[in-house]
Subunit: 401 residues, 2 copies
């Protein structure tokens, strides 16, 4: 009989957010409340800005006439978009990334998972704890729950930042601003990781999906702000959170041409070539209309509009952060990140606090333990709701705690 | 040093269609012709029908107001689309497929590649020769060029259809109507494969991306027309070729709930559950706007419009087929498929004929050998150009041969 990939049997039963959504559905079917406030999954709520909407209508029209219709696009993405990204996200910030180092795709979730396709199964992979579950789950799917996965302890004592590993590590996933803790790495801190990586021949998979939320100028928005990071790091970026594309699906991954791995025989292999081969074989490009939408993000008007959206959400983050601090709760994140990470009150564990918030306050958050055992006793709240609902959520918390 | 997936080193240098496009670019830069006719890559050229365009404009508008904005959708796809597929593509044809057996994704190329994620690396995989290169390349990426890949000889003598394997096979990729040969499997022929598969505990990966082109009522459009195929087959379908979505990206995969694999300890595992876990972990759903576009395919107006597109292309297929037959050339396909597969004239090999056609006729086709060694000496032409250009291509061939 044909065999399945038995690594799947080592995964927890369901993906965290499916588990939450099942719990919420069960609650609603038992008690049909209408005033639920969702501060759980990191999903945006503001509509797409008008410059982006205009661009999409225009792209839909292009698809409706034979002269301007577009079929298959380049698997790596259209150059009209890759050139804008290289210019605005990198060149204008003094970083040298060329369009052929940029790969447009349908989401960072896909890319941070699929990147494993080009890596060897014998690598030792380091993953922070707590962590965005996709890195861990996709690694388990690929290499199993073997001794090759090293969890980097990120606890409150360490400010939820990982320390450099003492053991041998080949690949490390880093996500800053961090999901779920909202913590950031200073330039100095990130420089330490880049230097460690260059010394050890390790690869950094850097998830910068939340860079738009950075307010502090000393926090790097890209790992390539650090010297020589182009020789040891792949960077993942997304249009989901800065421009509200969670329902449209667009992201990009930077694989520098200077990033090489050495084979046992000493010859060098370019990761840019490998990823290009992977994407052109297993992916057929991102929707043309969505690539035009992403292009609009880089117009003068688009930049102002997405900036306003980020400010809107950051206002919510500070409402949550400051209100909970005022209650004397222990709170992290929310300053350069849309995520606020808090210690559950009354020493509650994560799911117990989840249940209390759901039952008593009709608020959906995310239990910290869902991100790893170091998340036990912590809880994530997101800034992605309206000002009104965020304030109402705080009122309910103040009434109940 | 971190290691790459060295299976990539066993792949041919570049994906076939990238190779062709490089050859064409080189030709044009050397001789800047303006009358090139593309009958190479299987890409559509007709604009999207008006029912689909209307539906997309309306979905873009929904994304522009806070009341109707949609963020993350279900990873498996919206039920409004899955229900229409279950109804129109299956139930109305007497096939029992439920919406939770249908997974919407961004393309069959992704899914036929990614499906390997849930399969064991110790399976023996059978792949036809010639074949759509994605099956072979993604299998090599995953398990290497080991003895576990069995090529099924599909040559002219066998009508380009595979015979049942004599050796043990765990998984077989079948694509009918076939890309590249345009051949089809009758119900009787496909039944033989389903029975073989059930007897041997094998899995059939059935790519039905071209089912809309089937004219003959005795040719199955879905493998589930064969009794008990739901216990041994996964089916891939696409909106690319029937509805012109090559630039929009939408497809779906059917994983029946009755499809099980047995572990060594005897317990059964549902492939539907595995694929759901894979998709919810490594994929974030298909663009909402594109799912609304796909939904419009199933309206009465949409069905008429996409039917007309298919007829348009099939008219081209018959122009190519009949004209080449009249020249006395040996021709396959083009009757239930947008692909015409021909024996190169004057015993030319595939790339030599490619070069002649490009240089002398300014026509781009696809060399059969790019699909496998049994394709050597054959050539694929597609029906996806305009009537005018297809007729002009035939005129040029008639002048030169």
């Amino acid at each position: 009989m044909f065999r399945i990939n038995e690594n799947f049997l080592n995964l927890s039963e369901s993906y965290l957010f499916n588990q939450i959504s099942k719990k919420v559905d069960d609650f609603i079917s038992y008690k049909p409340v209408t005033d639920l406030i969702r501060l759980g999954i990191g999903d945006v709520t503001l509509p797409l800005p008008s410059s982006i909407v205009r661009s999409m209508h225009s792209a839909v029209n292009e698809m409706s006439t034979i002269e301007t219709f577009r079929g298959y696009g380049p698997e790596q993405g259209y150059s009209f978009l890759r050139e804008r990204i290289a210019e605005v996200d990198y060149s204008q910030r003094g970083i040298n990334v060329s369009p052929d180092e940029i790969f447009i795709s349908d989401g960072s979730k896909s890319d941070t998972g699929n990147i494993g396709d080009i890596l060897g199964d014998d690598n030792v992979i380091a993953i922070t704890d707590p962590v965005y579950p996709v890195y861990l789950d996709t690694t388990i799917m690929r290499i199993g729950k073997s001794g090759k996965i090293l969890l980097l302890n990120c606890d409150e004592e360490r400010g939820f930042l990982p320390e450099l590993p003492n053991e041998h590590v080949d690949v490390v996933y880093l996500c800053y601003p961090n999901n779920p803790t909202g913590t950031v790495m200073t330039k100095q801190e990130l420089k330490k990781w880049v230097e460690w990586s260059l010394e050890n021949g390790s690869l950094i998979l850097f998830d910068a999906a939340y860079e738009a939320y950075i307010q502090d100028e000393n926090i790097p928005k890209s790992i390539y702000e650090i010297e020589n990071a182009d020789k040891c790091a792949i960077e993942f970026r997304s249009f989901s959170k800065n421009a509200g594309f969670t329902g449209l699906r667009c992201s990009f991954t930077v694989v520098p041409k200077s990033l090489m791995s050495k084979l046992k025989n000493g010859s060098e292999v370019s990761l840019n070539n490998l990823w290009k081969r992977r994407q052109s074989t297993k992916f057929n490009g991102t929707d043309y209309i969505v690539q035009r939408a992403a292009e609009a993000v880089y117009t003068a008007e688009g930049q102002i509009e997405v900036g306003e959206m980020v400010n809107y959400y950051m206002h919510n983050a500070s409402i949550i952060r400051n209100s909970l601090l005022m209650k004397g709760w222990t709170v992290f994140g929310g300053e350069n990140s849309p995520y606020v990470w808090l210690k559950c009150p009354h020493e509650l564990d994560s799911w117990a606090f989840f249940d209390q918030l759901l039952n008593n306050c009709h608020i959906v958050g995310t239990p910290g333990v869902g991100f790893g055992s170091n998340g036990q006793g912590y809880f994530r709240m997101t800034a992605f709701n309206s000002h009104e609902k965020t304030e109402e959520a705080i009122r309910r918390i103040n009434t109940n705690y």
